[in-house]
């Protein structure tokens, strides 16, 4: 199994946490994992992207047009990072509007749960529901429980399940 995923968003939206969950999930299913992240100054609200490669790879970076799946925490990033996703790949987008992608208003869902911090988890759940990821919800739930801060486990799981429950 091989899968290449990009996660795009703005600093503070939880791109790094989603990256970590996907990496842990890769390990959980017994695959090789390589990821790449943005740190430092760009994290102060700037545009950020992570690359996740599941399977036998050597480089942590994904070339433009090679990603199988793209998770976009804001639709504003589609013009910036949309080109990473290959033709026929899946774009999973946090968006109130519509476009050539599978969209969900993850921000609104998170608000309903009482915390915008869950936005990234809602999008992740939706991605699993869309079959856009290499792993299923059982694996992801296990990883969320392991990787979340104790005070955040419940909110993260609720966010994930909320995204999982959405059908389009």
């Amino acid at each position: 199994m091989k899968q290449q995923i990009v996660v795009s968003g703005r600093g503070g939206q939880g791109v790094l946490f989603v990256t970590r969950l996907l990496a842990e999930a890769g390990l959980e299913v017994g695959a090789d994992v390589l990821t790449s992240e943005t740190h430092g100054m760009a994290m102060r609200g700037g545009t950020v992207i992570s690359h996740i490669k599941i399977g036998n790879f050597r480089s942590p970076l994904i070339r433009k047009g090679r990603a199988d799946t793209g998770l976009f925490l804001t639709d504003a990033n589609i013009p910036i990072h949309g080109a990473y996703v290959r033709a026929g790949g899946m774009r999973i987008v946090n968006s109130g509007g519509q476009g050539e992608y599978a969209g969900i208003d993850a921000t609104a869902c998170a608000k309903e749960l009482g915390s915008l911090l869950a936005t990234n988890l809602v999008l992740l759940g939706f991605a699993v529901r869309q079959g856009a990821l290499f792993c299923d919800e059982t694996v992801m739930c296990r990883v969320i429980k392991q990787a979340s801060r104790p005070s955040q486990v419940e909110l993260n799981l609720r966010g994930f399940e909320k995204g999982l429950a959405v059908t389009t």
Binding site: R10, A23, T35, R44, G45, P60
Partner: protein, 609 residues
């Protein structure tokens, strides 16, 4: 053995502890910051006492590691590439004098650069100092190379560098955790003045000895680069190292050309194995070198026909992203077209200071109080003050104070009507390299306002504690050192402390400071702008919170957007007015003072002691 997802920096920190290293010192800097934090996490698994510390700068960190190594114990020091500029003095001499216990110098480079002021290649610095350097291509390999580096270091009594790049430091990978090697060494410093004092009379001998070591290392068969593709008799070869090599391999694989090209992976770019140099030059007419960021391997090949960064077949600047490498490979291998079209780069959102950041308030007060002022600044989150007119210069750690003095003397020579110069520096940067500049400025009669932005942390790199916080890297208490004491001891005669959230009080203090600078007895005036970083949850919960709204009085003048630049104040193009993004607003209430027509209104909702 347990496998765990580790970031490159975590893998390096783990590798240091596994290798029996008992001292790891560092100064935080992207992309190297997590190395020490990782060592702190794993240090508990060692039976030997492992000492970890955030030193005040890289030079100090290097010298601590040297002293520790002199006793026979394994030591390591970690920094970013420009940190090595600061540590260059002890670094270069340590090659001549050598070490006793292994010393591994981890220097993280930042091609691109993503978060640095240069994209210099530390392998070239290692070559300059004649220190061997490893170039890892992924986190697991970086951990393995830590061990090889210690072995090489002790075998030749020489410091050895490990040079990861951002793409290794911030990559994550499943890494096998191995058991920690407990060396059980006790400190034994053996006096030898010909070596540890090494006055000039000894140095030609030490220099010759260093050259002999490097010559020997260049002949080690285990450092001979390995061929990872091709038959060994292909017409073309590629020599590569680090993460660039990983990209070359994957692109060759995608192009179906793995069998057609002999790809050699270099683990030790300096000194490059001499038998390899001979074999490559004799065996191939077409050689391409792909490396980051300077031509270190390429120059050692001493082959004018080799293609690379000198010949400009590989761009001689910037990060070697997979897209760049793909283009280079296709040209070198005569593969027709199909290169991903050059999509026009769409710029993302620029970073800005967080909503509620105390620096924003300080910059706003400074730039509005002195509209004709000059504002030298420095390295940290606060460099982002450039977005809204609060920062005019940024050079290298601590430079702002002396640059401020240089600016002052240039203007003062032309007459007494000099512009007000307000220098801003963060608390951690002040400790790092600001103090000598301050003493110098006071002594030489410079007149400017120095605002020390004291947010009680090293925010940009992940909130590491400063010496004033009094907590050491492992969470144990240290002996706190206070900034006001240092300022007074530097001879400063005007010192005030203000909370920048109170813009009016802060502004009057700035005016008072300017009057002091311009008075007969004037000099450097220091204001400590004191308010904790709001990334610190406890600090955030401890401060008053307000509900902030913009009323219909808003005229759409955008002053709050241009001069204050809070991400929570957003201009609604349709309505022609500003609104508050309640999701990101932390309710600091500072912006109330910014609106010229009083359209920003605040109402206290809680918090505060």
């Amino acid at each position: 053995m347990e496998k765990k997802i580790l970031m490159g920096n975590e893998a390096i920190g783990r590798g240091l502890v596994e290798a029996g290293c008992t001292l790891i010192s560092s100064y935080p800097g992207t992309p190297a910051s997590e190395i020490l934090e990782s060592a702190v996490t794993f240090a508990g698994e060692a039976e030997d006492t492992v000492r970890t510390e955030w030193s005040i700068n890289e030079k100090v960190a290097y010298e601590i590691a040297l002293g520790h190594s002199y006793t026979g114990k394994r030591s390591a020091v970690a920094m970013k590439q420009v940190g090595l500029n600061v540590a260059s003095d002890p670094f270069t001499r340590s090659a001549y004098l050598g070490v006793t216990g292994g010393l591994v110098v981890v220097v993280a480079d930042d091609p691109g650069p993503h978060s640095s002021q240069t994209e210099q290649d530390s392998r070239a610095f290692a070559q300059f100092a004649r220190i061997p350097v490893f170039d890892p291509s992924n986190p697991a390999e970086a951990k393995e190379m830590v061990k090889r580096a210690f072995e090489l270091s002790e075998r030749y009594e020489i410091p050895v560098m490990l040079r990861p790049t951002t793409r290794v430091c911030h990559a994550r990978q499943g890494v096998t955790l191995e058991s920690v090697h407990n060396l059980g060494r006790t400190a034994r410093f053996k006096k030898d003045s010909s070596r540890w004092v090494a006055t000039p009379q000894f140095l030609t001998g030490l220099h010759r000895g260093l050259n002999d070591k490097i010559d020997e290392i260049a002949r080690l068969p285990e450092m001979y680069p390995s061929r990872i593709s091709g038959s060994g008799s292909a017409a073309r070869c590629i020599v590569s190292s680090g993460v660039a090599c990983a990209n070359v391999y994957e692109i060759l694989e995608d192009l179906g050309l793995l069998e057609e090209v002999d790809l050699f992976k270099v683990d030790l770019p300096y000194p490059l194995n001499v038998d390899f140099i001979e074999a490559i030059n004799a065996g191939y007419d077409h050689i391409l070198v792909v490396e980051e960021t300077y031509p270190v391997i390429e120059t050692q090949l001493m082959n004018c026909a080799a293609r690379g960064r000198i010949s400009k077949d590989v761009p001689d600047y910037g990060e070697l992203t997979p897209e760049v490498i793909e283009k280079v490979l296709k040209t070198f291998l005569n593969v027709a077209g199909g290169t991903e079209e050059d999509v026009k780069e769409v710029k993302g959102v620029r970073p800005s200071l967080c909503p509620g950041c105390p620096h924003r308030a300080a910059f706003y007060a400074i730039s509005t109080t002195f509209p004709k002022g000059i504002f030298p600044s420095d390295i940290g989150c606060y460099t982002l003050g450039m977005n809204f007119g609060g920062v005019d210069t940024c050079h290298c750690m601590g430079a702002c104070i002396s640059q401020g003095a240089g600016l002052y003397h240039a203007y003062a020579a032309d007459g007494s009507d000099y512009p007000t110069i307000v220098v801003t520096i963060g608390d951690s940067t002040f400790f790092h390299a600001g103090i000598p500049g301050l003493i110098n400025a006071v002594f030489t009669g410079a007149r400017f306002i120095l605002v020390i932005l004291d947010n009680a942390t090293t925010a940009m790199t992940g909130n590491q504690p400063t010496p004033q916080v009094g907590v050491m890297a492992d969470g144990t208490p240290g002996n706190a050192v206070y900034i006001p004491d240092l300022v007074r001891a530097s001879g400063v005669r005007f010192l005030e402390e203000r909370d920048p959230y109170d813009i009016d009080t802060f502004t009057s203090c700035l005016r008072e400071a300017d009057r002091f600078c311009r008075s007969d007895e004037g000099g450097v005036a220091v204001i400590i702008s004191k308010h904790p970083c709001i990334m610190d949850r406890k600090a955030l919960e401890g401060q008053k919170r307000y509900r902030v709204e913009v009323t219909d009085e808003c005229t759409g003048c955008r002053i709050c957007i241009k001069r204050f630049e809070c991400p929570s104040l957003i201009f609604d193009e349709e309505a022609g007015k500003v609104f508050v993004d309640q999701n990101s607003c932390i309710g600091c209430g500072v912006c109330e003072a910014v609106c010229p027509v009083g359209a920003i209104v605040v109402q206290e909702t809680g918090g505060g002691a």
